[in-house]
Amino acid sequence: MINTEEKNNGNTIIEIEHIAKIYQMGTEFVHAIRDITLKIYKNDYLAIMGPSGSGKSTLMNIIGCLDTPTKGKYLFKDMDVSEMTDNDLASIRNKEIGFVFQTFNLLARSSSLKNVELPLIYAGISKSVRDEMAMKALENVGLSDRVNHKPNELSGGQRQRVAVARALVTEPSIILADEPTGNLDTKTGLEIMNLFNELWKAGNTIILVTHEEEVANFAKRIIKLRDGLIENDSINHQQ
């Protein structure tokens, strides 16, 4: 039932061994993650579930190199993340990881195009190539007619699609989505999930965090967290 060794190692993107994340609040220690060991493979489609405070976001942030674990080992494509400098981490976030957040996290004063171009700017790509790549990414999420709209001129679903385009534009190894449908109504949420589904079919690797069974059911592997531990890691047979 546990989905591990049947995969071959060449396809491993992420290898996490016994990681923990401990926050100190005054004299108290908060164990956001206690002990998690996990492998993620190419073209995986993984949903992380669990009650509020179980460490889902913390785990996502660690996987996405936004945060570093207090203990344990994290290999990203066989590179040891714990040995990386801030610059290396930024570089990984830029090239290898695409984030999608619950609150969209778009730059409010910039157009869709500018928002999607942002990672390309930090990758040092020239303006003309940037424009082309961003246009294509927006087209892929069905927003070619909303290129010059600012976030407040878009619906929630459209905003999230801009965020997905931004996550896709650098062609990352993995897409991380922390409750991507959390701020959307059911119908729009479904649209976004269909988009993820297509991306997965096109060969992308996707990890998403969700509270909702219907959303999790899109994934082909589901991990359940409780109190900073993996309670269950299984293939989604409903898929």
Partner: protein, 418 residues
């Protein structure tokens, strides 16, 4: 890569300022005042330098003036007054005997007399009896007519070359050539007007009138005054040599025993440098304190606004970091924003000062003639200096906020509401 980062950051900075125009303006106020001080100080100082240079050009940097009086003046005034006059004969003897100088001429001076032209009368100028070679010194160039000739000099013709202001006062810019003026009841033919030369440091030169020394003596008498000698060395390089020869020769003529002090002074343009140095120092000492103070206010103002900016844009910083902005990039973004903020202050200061300086330099000399040395146009070097200073000040002010922004934890930053 670096370049696109910089241009991108400049765009971001302008966007941020566009959103908060008034706030940005207020933040740069200290810099506006500080840069204004720098510009105005530079303006006054460059005016002084120009005045000094103009003075040098009249006096001539290769000129020496042997005189009973000392230009540096002051300290030994009583002693100098007790010196014996340099007589006309001593001056003439000196001029005949000096070897290394290109030119040496006696100058006899009288003042307190009136000059009359028709019904006009003018007082307050001085009359100088000199030789025709005076026309070959910087102080002797005419802009109307001519100087007197060697022939007129030899026979002591009653001809006169007017100073610029004398011409203005008597003829009100009318054609002076061929007109007669009266001095002590004698008629003099006006043959020329000396170029306007007056500077703040040397403003009496436009009130001088020149005539052949023989004519001078027949009006004012042969003795009873100290005659000075103007010596043209020919070049700055030969100045030392000519000075040494002049000193020895004059001591010999005036019978000064070895070991005794000179009873005359050898004056040169250097005397004015110290005068200007004193002025320059006083401008600095007043200006520098106020400049430093206003830059301090400017730095605090910009630093404060940058801290506000970092706090307001914490979420934005988080987003940028999440998509791959490096610490250095974020750092640069805020440093550039601070620098531009400060630079805009400098631009405002420069525009303001240009207007101010133009008005002051054109209006003030009408009421306070001593300020005529001020130029109505700011030297362009000041623009460069002001730009560099403002950018430096801005970067200094932005340093701490920028480091804070760069070091923000992306997870924390993304958790923010705004």
């Amino acid at each position: 890569m670096k370049f696109s980062e910089i241009t991108e950051n400049i765009k971001i900075a302008f966007e941020a300022m566009r959103v908060n125009k008034l706030r940005s303006l207020l933040a740069s106020l200290g810099v506006v005042i500080g840069i204004s001080f720098v510009i105005l100080m530079g303006w006054v100082l460059s005016g002084l330098d120009q005045a000094l240079e103009d003075t040098f050009n009249i006096i001539g940097t290769d000129m020496l003036y042997i005189d009973k009086w000392d230009w540096a003046g002051g300290r030994n005034w009583k002693k100098i007054r007790q010196r014996k006059d340099i007589t006309y004969d001593q001056a003439t003897e000196f001029c005949e005997k000096i070897k290394n100088a290109e030119l040496a001429i006696p100058n006899a001076r009288e003042f307190g007399y009136k000059i009359k032209y028709k019904n006009e009368e003018f007082q307050g100028m001085s009359f100088i009896g000199t030789r025709w070679e005076h026309s070959m010194t910087p102080a002797g160039s005419t802009y109307i007519g001519r100087h007197f000739t060697q022939f007129e000099d030899d026979i002591g013709s009653n001809v006169i070359v007017l100073g610029y202001k004398v011409h203005q006062a008597l003829l009100n810019e009318g054609d002076p050539l061929g007109q007669y003026v009266k001095i002590e009841g004698r008629k003099f033919l006006v043959i020329g007007v000396i170029k306007k030369q007056g500077t703040m440091l040397f403003d009496f030169v436009d009130n001088q009138c020149f005539m052949p020394i023989k004519a001078f003596q027949s009006v004012f008498g042969r003795s009873g005054r100290s005659v000075s000698v103007a010596i043209k060395a020919g070049s700055i390089n030969s100045l030392d040599e000519v000075r040494a020869e002049s000193e020895g020769l004059m001591r010999q003529i005036r019978n000064i025993k070895p070991g005794e002090e000179n009873d005359f002074s050898i004056n040169e343009t250097k005397a004015f440098e110290s005068t200007v140095e004193v002025l320059r120092l006083s401008v600095w000492s007043v200006g520098i304190g106020m400049t430093v103070l206003s830059f301090l206010v400017g730095i605090i103002g910009i630093m404060n606004i940058m801290f506000v900016s970092v706090t307001e844009r914490t979420k934005e910083i988080g987003i940028r970091k999440a998509v791959g902005a490096k610490k250095r990039t974020i750092w640069m973004q805020f440093i550039i924003e601070a620098a531009i903020l400060s630079f805009i202050g400098a631009v405002i200061a420069f525009i303001g000062c240009s207007v101010f300086v133009y008005l002051i330099a054109t209006l003030l000399p009408k009421f306070v003639p001593e300020t005529a040395f001020l130029s109505p146009i700011l030297p362009y070097e000041l623009l460069l200096i002001a730009s560099f200073v403002s950018i430096f000040v801005g970067m200094l002010a932005g340093l701490v906020p920028a480091v804070r922004a760069a070091n923000l934890d992306p997870v924390e930053a993304l958790r923010r509401e705004n």
